[in-house]
Structures are given as structure tokens and as C-alpha cells.
């Protein structure tokens, strides 16, 4: 059985910046200019369902964010992960034209990461209150813990107690 993602890589050519395979999952990183053609091509190859759209903050890495599209093909069952890397303040074209379901997913990414999507019909906060400041899922946004009181102990914030054991 041929892997439909191979055909996709062939179609996109130089648009694919990087491809990885980890635990049998295929991830393609495309550059921003090729994102929309890549989504179109994937749709044409049967990946018709946008299962998930999210982002990863690579702070202090550069470029800072990865926007992740998880596409599913129903027949035959297959999954494909497409990624695009963007810097802080950069925008990403919206996928709402093809998938109306991307509407809330993009709003959530905007709400929690502050990544803006071009052509989104209503890019407002969705989970946090409208007057909220900051983007909670960014790595430089503190967890905002309240100090906990234990008798006989100086209150400490949990994340200060647990050290990060290994940095990448």
C-alpha cells in the first residue's frame, strides 16, 4: 500500500521544509507560503477532515510558534500532521474557508497563544474572558499560582520546587 503522504510530498516539492516519522506518525513541516496549497493538496488526497488545529510554543526557540494541523482521512483510515512555523506577531492564513470547524479551533489558538489568522470571520477570545490580558499557554506566561499556606513552611510556588531535570 502506498502512503498517501508520499504523494503529497511529491506534489509540494520544495514547500516541504522538513519531514519526520516518529512512532509511525508522519509530520510534514511546510513553509508558510505553501500552507494553503498543502492543505488543498491533502484534501485532494482524501484527508478531508480537520481533526485538530493547535499550536506549540517553542519559546525561546526561533521561530517561536508551530501551528499544527491534524488531518484525518476516513477511507482508507490515515492521519497526517502538517506544521507551519511562525514567529511572534506573524499571521497564518485561516482554514475556515475550507473547514468551518476551524473557526473555533483558530479562535482558541488566538486566545491561548496570541497567533492571528488572516481571513478569520471573528477572531475574538473564546475560552478566556473578553477583557483578559495575555495569552495563557505561552511559555513566558506564568502559571499564576497563588501561594499555598502550610503551617510551619514558607509558602512556595510548586513550579519553583520541581526543577526541570533536563533541558533539550
Amino acid at each position: 500500500m502506498t502512503d498517501p503522504t508520499d504523494a503529497l510530498v511529491g506534489q509540494l516539492g520544495a514547500g516541504v521544509v522538513e519531514q519526520t516519522r516518529f512512532r509511525d506518525e508522519r509530520t510534514l513541516v511546510v513553509d508558510k507560503a505553501h500552507l494553503e496549497p498543502a492543505l488543498d493538496a491533502a484534501f485532494g488526497l482524501g484527508f478531508t477532515v480537520l481533526t485538530d488545529l493547535t499550536a506549540v510554543d517553542r519559546h525561546p526557540g526561533v521561530p517561536r510558534f508551530e501551528v499544527v494541523y491534524l488531518l484525518t482521512s476516513l477511507v482508507p483510515p490515515a492521519r497526517l500532521r502538517l506544521k507551519v512555523r511562525v514567529a511572534d506577531g506573524e499571521t497564518v492564513p485561516s482554514a475556515t474557508g475550507r473547514w468551518p470547524g476551524a473557526n473555533w479551533l483558530e479562535r482558541e489558538v488566538y486566545d491561548l497563544f496570541g497567533i492571528r489568522f488572516d481571513g478569520h470571520p471573528d477572531l475574538t477570545r473564546i475560552l478566556m474572558p473578553d477583557d483578559w490580558e495575555g495569552y495563557p499557554l505561552r511559555k513566558d506566561f506564568a502559571l499564576v499560582e497563588e501561594p499555598v499556606q502550610f503551617i510551619g513552611h514558607t509558602p512556595k510556588v510548586p513550579s519553583q520546587i520541581i526543577p526541570k531535570s533536563k533541558q533539550p
Partner: protein, 183 residues
């Protein structure tokens, strides 16, 4: 003589005195055993504590246990609180069943203000009591920052029995306000 719980079981006597001059000591005793004296407050709190109407106000996981409490196995009706009201204006008990987010906080406060006095609040579960396992940007660390809480029920989620125990504690509090522990 104040009556809070059961009526005195002293044998009922009937006075045969026609005027106060004829009354003997036995007649006075008979009179006492036929009249209950209490304060209006105590009478009212006796009525209130036995028919607490909770607002139908489910937030998160604890709400499912709150529904379970109302069903046949645990049967909150035994304690007079089965009438969950959809409108806060008809309820006098708010069971905060679950975590309260920063976005929900003003709404919760608004609902509490809509309830008519006298009103009580049970913080059901760890999240409502103190934030529980979550200590982060999104959650209010304990609903007592928003509304006055009468009874805290611990557990994640508390078993239905725990909620019933909390309700009984609240009934004790209503009957006897001086039992309230102050920090």
C-alpha cells in the same frame, strides 16, 4: 420553656379551675404542659432547615454526584431538599458543585445576589472549597472569595453521603447559629 426538638413527654393534665383564685399548683403545671413557648426566630429556622431548596446549579464533576444525591439511591428527599429549583429566586441554598473559573465568577456572584434572603451556600468539593488540584490562572481559588460559604464538603468529588452530611451540618447551623465556627 423553649422547644427545639421534640415536645416534652410529660403527662398531660387537665385543669378544672374556673377562676385564677381556684387554681392550685397542679393546675399551673397542667397549663405549662399544654402551651409551647418559643421565639419566632426558632420557629422560623425550624421550618427553614427542614425544607432547604437548592438552586439547580451544576458546574463540573461534582454536579454529577449532586444529581446522584437527588436520585433514588441516596435520596436527598429524606432531608427535605429534593426540590431543585431552576430559578435562583425560588431557591435558598446554593450548592457550588465544582470549579469556578474566572469567567464564571461574576455570573456566580450574580446568581447568588438574585437569591432571596435568607440564603446559604455549600461549597461542594475541593475545587469550590480551595481550588483543589488546580492552582492556575483560570480558576478562582475557592468560592469563598466570591460569596460567603456556610459549609465546606471535602472530596474530589465528595461521595453523595458526604454531601448529605454537609446538608445535615447546615441544618444544624440553621437551627443553632451559635454553633458556627469562626476563624
Amino acid at each position: 420553656m423553649a422547644v427545639t426538638g421534640g415536645v416534652s413527654l410529660r403527662a398531660t393534665l387537665v385543669s378544672r379551675a374556673a377562676t385564677s383564685a381556684e387554681a392550685t399548683a397542679a393546675d399551673v403545671r397542667a397549663l405549662e404542659s399544654n402551651v409551647l413557648t418559643t421565639t419566632v426566630d426558632r420557629m422560623a429556622s425550624w421550618a427553614r432547615k427542614n425544607s432547604l431548596w437548592p438552586a439547580q446549579f451544576g458546574l463540573a464533576c461534582c454536579a454529577i454526584e449532586m444529581i446522584a444525591v437527588a436520585q433514588s439511591r441516596f435520596d436527598i428527599a429524606r432531608f427535605g431538599s429534593e426540590a431543585f429549583r431552576a430559578s435562583p429566586r425560588q431557591a435558598d441554598l446554593m450548592i457550588v458543585s465544582g470549579r469556578v473559573s474566572q469567567k464564571m465568577a461574576p455570573v456566580l456572584q450574580h446568581i447568588y445576589e438574585q437569591m432571596l434572603d435568607p440564603k446559604w451556600v455549600i461549597a461542594m468539593g475541593d475545587c469550590a472549597s480551595c481550588g483543589g488540584v488546580f492552582n492556575n490562572y483560570a480558576l478562582v481559588q475557592g468560592v469563598d472569595k466570591l460569596v460567603p460559604v456556610d459549609v465546606y464538603v471535602a472530596g474530589c468529588p465528595p461521595r453523595p453521603e458526604a454531601l448529605l452530611y454537609g446538608l445535615l451540618k447546615l441544618q444544624e447551623l440553621i437551627a443553632n447559629p451559635s454553633a458556627r465556627r469562626r476563624s
